[in-house]
Structure formats: structure tokens, C-alpha cells
């Protein structure tokens, strides 16, 4: 049996990768993928705890997260497409109309 800490460390590494990608990358698609990475890192720790404590609540949470992520992907990709259509770029640094 793989101990809980392994799952948690892997989950932390996945989340940290997501955060780093979010902070560093300029391409909006990559940023989007980083968010998915963070979500899945969290999902991993949810299922790990669920298995460890023999409780279903964690798995239910994961389903919710996946549903939200799917909805987010749908809406987010739609926004990305419309941004690309209007501005012909996916670089977030150039999408700054609301900046002071």
C-alpha cells in the first residue's frame, strides 16, 4: 500500500507546477492548462484522503471539481477564441485594455 504522504507530495508537486506555469507563461492556453493542473493536483489529494479515511465525501468533491473544470474549460475556451478573433494574439501581456 502506497502511504498517504506520497500522494500528498505528488499532489503538492502538481499544484506547484501549476502555480509556476500560471505565473511564468504568457500564452493564455498554457495558463489555462496550468489551472487544470492545479485543479487536478487538488483532486489527487482529495481522492488520496478519501481512500485513506474510507470516506466517500472526498470522491464526491472530486466529481464537483471535474464538473466545474469542464464548465470552465467550455467557457474559458470560448473566451479565448473570441479574444484571439478580436486581438489576433494569445499573449496575456497584450490583453491589457482594463489596465490603469
Amino acid at each position: 500500500m502506497v502511504p498517504l504522504s506520497y500522494y500528498l507530495v505528488l499532489s503538492g508537486i502538481l499544484f506547484a507546477c501549476g502555480v509556476c506555469g500560471f505565473l511564468i507563461k504568457r500564452n493564455i492556453i498554457t495558463i489555462f492548462m496550468s489551472i487544470e493542473l492545479m485543479l487536478n493536483g487538488v483532486n489527487l489529494s482529495f481522492v488520496a484522503f478519501a481512500a485513506h479515511w474510507h470516506q466517500l465525501a472526498g470522491q464526491v468533491f472530486v466529481f464537483f471539481v471535474m464538473v466545474v473544470a469542464a464548465a470552465e474549460a467550455a467557457v474559458g475556451l470560448a473566451i479565448i477564441i473570441s479574444v484571439y478573433r478580436t486581438r489576433e494574439t494569445l499573449n496575456v501581456d497584450q490583453v491589457n485594455l482594463l489596465k490603469l
Binding site: V19, L23, N96, K99, L100
Partner: protein
Amino acid sequence: MTPNLNLWLIPILPLAGAAVNGFFGKKSSRQAVTIVGLFFSGAAFAWALGVAFRFSSLEVPYQEYVAHWIRSGNFAVDFAFYLDQLSLVMLLVVTGVGFLIHIYSVGYMWEDSGYYRFFSYLNLFMFFMLTLVLANNYLLMFIGWEGVGLTSYLLIGFWFTKDSAASAGKKAFIVNRIGDFGFLIGLLLMVQHFGSLTFTQVFDQVKPMSPENAGAGLLTAIGILLMVGACGKSAQIPLYIWLPDAMEGPTPVSALIHAATMVTAGVYMVSRSHVIFERAPSALTVVAVIGTLTAFFAATIGITQTDIKKVLAYSTVSQLGYMFMACGVGAFSAGIFHLMTHAFFKGLLFLAAGSVIHAVGGEQDMRRMGGLRAKLPWTFWTMTAGTLAIAGIPGLAGFFSKDAILWRAYQASWAYWLVGVVTAFITSFYMFRLWFMTFFGQYRGEAAAHADHGSHSAHDAHGHGGIHESPRVMVIPLAILAILSVIGGYVGVPGSLGGSNRFDRFLGPVFRSTVPAESSQTQMGEKGATEQTTEGTEPKEEPSKELMFTAISVAAAFLGLGLAWLLYYRSPDLPARIAQRIAGLYDVVCHKYYVDEIYAALIVKPLVNGSTSILWQGVDRKVIDDTVNNAADGARHVSDEVRHMQSGNLRSYAGWIAAGAAIVIAYMVWLGVAR
């Protein structure tokens, strides 16, 4: 059970008139305004007459409760009225003379565009004055007191587009505030020490005190503070300066407010408080000295004035000084007697002067009048009656009242009497000077009037050619007042002249001395044992001596008449030469002893400078404004720095969130490890 007099109607009627004219007068015709104005003031007079006829069957003092006003613990002030002989006299004078002046105003103000406004104010004045006179406590009196001040302000500044009128109104109001402040403090002292402001309650508590240790100076303090109030309202030294300026108002106003009624409120108030004053000899001395000095100084200024209304104004100040002199020597009934006769003859003189001004097209300078005797016969004869009365020519009203005051003043101190007689001489002189300059000699107006038409005639001009007698509506009040000025004195013929001084005896119950008789000489033990009237003990004095003094004051009056005749009728160029001879003195007197200038330099200027440099530039701008501005500036500077956090860079936000989350997690971990 005394009958219910419904005294409250007397003040309420003019108030209703003021309201009707004030709200609806603008749209209604002059006739309607006239009817309303005269009806309500006339109704008040009629009601007052009715009260007077039923007076003998009353229990005096008659008190009438109308409504609660203030109830706070044991302290209570009500809307309630008080009627005794003193208020009855004032009531009749105010409503009677007031009504006559209302009638006169119909003629005088007919052409004025503010006709309805004038009658509204005039009725409002009657309301406040009657409240003042009828109040049964000091606070209600104070309302009337302030109210007449307000209406006085409104009426002085009646032609408010004229700068001098507007500032004269302000001056009157502000100077009155000084006096009112003293009055108010006096009232607060009463509240503190007697717990009441109702006349009867205050006086009941004062009565047991003896003059020697009258509340350790308390009564003296109250007395002097009340006198400060009276000085403001009744134009005594040092607060008399507003009254001459008040002549900017329409002439009927000068007659009603600034001669006959309002300015005598101080005399009334001091007389009403005689219980307090009798126990405060020092306060009484202050009253007497102020009165005497004012009588003399104002009279001397009157000699040099050339504006017909200004002469009468200073004369009013001087006569009010007489009244205070009378009060100050304890002769309250003589003071009130003079108040009444003065209301008749001074009201008459002002109205007659108004008639003259009206006739010559707004000219007020006596040097541009003259020879009007034949052209204005009614005005001439009525004014003659008034002049003779004020000068103290025997047989007329002023003679009896002035004589009563001088005799009582002599009994107190020969100094008061001497100044009084000299003042009587001066009074006679300047009044006959006015009379000769206005009605005798050649008319001097024609050429001069054309030279600077507009400066003087701005307000009283009535747009007509030629000098003419005033309309009947103005002449009738003149005639009635003239009759009163002639016969008004016979109610108080002194014993020495074969009369019985009915006026004095009528007022006797009010002023019955409550001070134990001669307690200062005898021992203190038997106080209250002998309640005698000081008024009653008087006829014991030797009448021959009183006659002699009467003769002296009559001689002074005739001397004044003679001198005025010599200087202003026989050789009219003499005054100028005399003025040149004593140019220094003449200048000082002509400039009213520079009192206005001294006040300006000593009080007004420091006040203005202090307000400008300290309060405005210092406190207001440096402290108050800067506090607000600096707070705003500080907020802006801080925000300028802090807003850089809001970069708009999405990833930096994410970085901050991640960093914050990392810090929180590290802290939790550290907590767990530490446990």
C-alpha cells in the same frame, strides 16, 4: 370673582392684522390694506378702552392665565397677562397713540410702494409692544422686548434699498443686543436665586429683604443688569447712539416707535421692577446718574443739529433721560407721568415734522425751511402746542410732568435738579429754535432744493409742486394729539398748584413703597411694621418751596424761548457768528461729541480687525480649513503610493495570492510543528 377681561385679545388683534396684511396685502388694494390695518389696531384700542372702563370694578392686580409655556421642575413660565394701574396707563398710551399714528400713516405712506408691508410691520409692532406691557412675567416681557427690537429694525430699514437706512437698522439692532444681553443675564440671575420669573413671585421673595443687605449685592447686580437692558432699548448713555440714526425710518415710525412707545419700554421695565430697585440704592443711583447725564448731553447735541428729525431724536433721548432720572430718585409715578405726556407731545412733534417734510417735498434740513407758518396753518398750530408742551410752558402737559420730576429730583439731590433745570432751559431753546427756523422768516428752500434734489428727498418725496397742507387724514391725528398735549397734564396737577395729583394717586397702589419706612435711620428690628407710601407722605413738604422751584423751571423755559427768539428770529445771522467765536466747542457738539467715532475706534475697529486677522485668517483659515484640507491631502498622498499595488497585471496578482497562501500554509505548518 372678577370678570374675565379677555386681555389676550388686545395683543392678538394687531397680530391678526399683521398676518392678514403680511400674507394678503401684496395682492389687495390700498383701501383694503388700510381697512385691515386700522381695524385691528383700532379694535385693540377699543378693547383697551373697554378694559379701562371696567377697571374700577376689578381686583387689582388682575391676572389672566392663557396657556402653559415652560414647566421644568419647580420653574414655571406661562403665557399669562397682568394688569394693574401701571400696565393700564401703558396700554392706553400704546394703543391710543399707536392708533392715531396708524391713521396718520395712511396719509403719509399712501404713495409708497411698500404700503401693505408698512402696515403689517406697524401692526406687528403693536402686538409685541402690547405683549411687553401686559406680560405677567419677565420672560414674556422679554419676548415683547425682543419683538419690538425686531420690528424697530424692520421699520428703520423700511427703505432698505437706501444704504444709510439699512445700516441704521443694523446699528439699532446690534446696539440693542448689547442691552438685551444685560437684561437676559439679569433674568438668569433671577431664575437662579428666586426660581421664578413671574412678577408676583419674584417680588414676594424680594420684599422681605431689607435695603441694607439686599441679598449681598444680588439685587444691585440684577438692578444694574436690568438698567443695561433699559439703556439699550431706551437709548441712554452709553447705548443711545442708535436712536438718532433710527430717524432713517419713515416719520410715523419715528413717532410711534422711536418717540412714543418702544423707547419708553425701558422706563416701564424699571418702574415695573421698582420692588427690586428700591432695595438696591446703588442701582437706583446708577439709574439716576445715567438719566441725568443723558438728559443733559443729548440736549446739548440737540442745539446744533440741523435735521429736523435729528433734533427731535436727541430731544427724545434727553426726555427719556428725564424719565430715568425720575425713576432713579424713586419717583416712578412721575417718570410714568412724563412717559405719558411725552408720548403725546413727542408723537405730535414727530408727526408734525413729518407733515412739514411731506409739505416741502422730502426736505429735512431746517436751514432750507422757514416761513411755513402761513402755508401750513394746521401743522403750525399743532406743532406750536407740542413745542410749548415740551418746553414746559405752564398749563401744558410737559410742564406738569417735568415739574413733578424736577421737584422729586431736588428732594433726592440738588445736583440732579440743577442739571435738570439747565436741561429744561436747553430743551426750550432748541425746540423754539426748531420752531422759529421752520415756521418763521423767509422760505429758504426753493433754490437749494433744486440744487441737490435727490440726496435728501429720495424717500419722502411725493412728487408734487408747491408747498401745501397735509391731507385731512394726517391733520386729524395731529389735532387730537395737540389737544392731548395741552390737556394731558391736568390729570397730575401737583398739590402746590391747587390740584390733587390724581395721576400720582392712581398709580399709588403699584408703587406703594414696600421698603420699611426710614428703616435706615431707625433700628432694623421694626421692619415691616410701618408700611407707608412714600408717595403718600409727600404733600407734607412745604408747598411754597415747591412753587418757587416751579417758578425757576418756568423761568428756564421762557429764557430758552427768549434766547431762541433772539438768535433765530430777530437776528438770524447771530448764531453763525457765535458758532465761529467758539468754533472748537461748536465742532465737538456738532459732531455729537465724537461718540460714534470713539465707539468706532475703541470697539468696532478692534472687533473688525480681530475678527479679520485672528478669527478669519487665524482660526478659520489656519485651523478649521487647514484641518480639513490636510486630511484630504494626506489621504491623497497615501493613496498615490498604495495604488501601485493595483497594477492590473493578472500574473502579479496570482503571484501575490500564491505568496500569501504559501505564508499562511507555512504559518500553519509551523504551528503544527511547535505543538
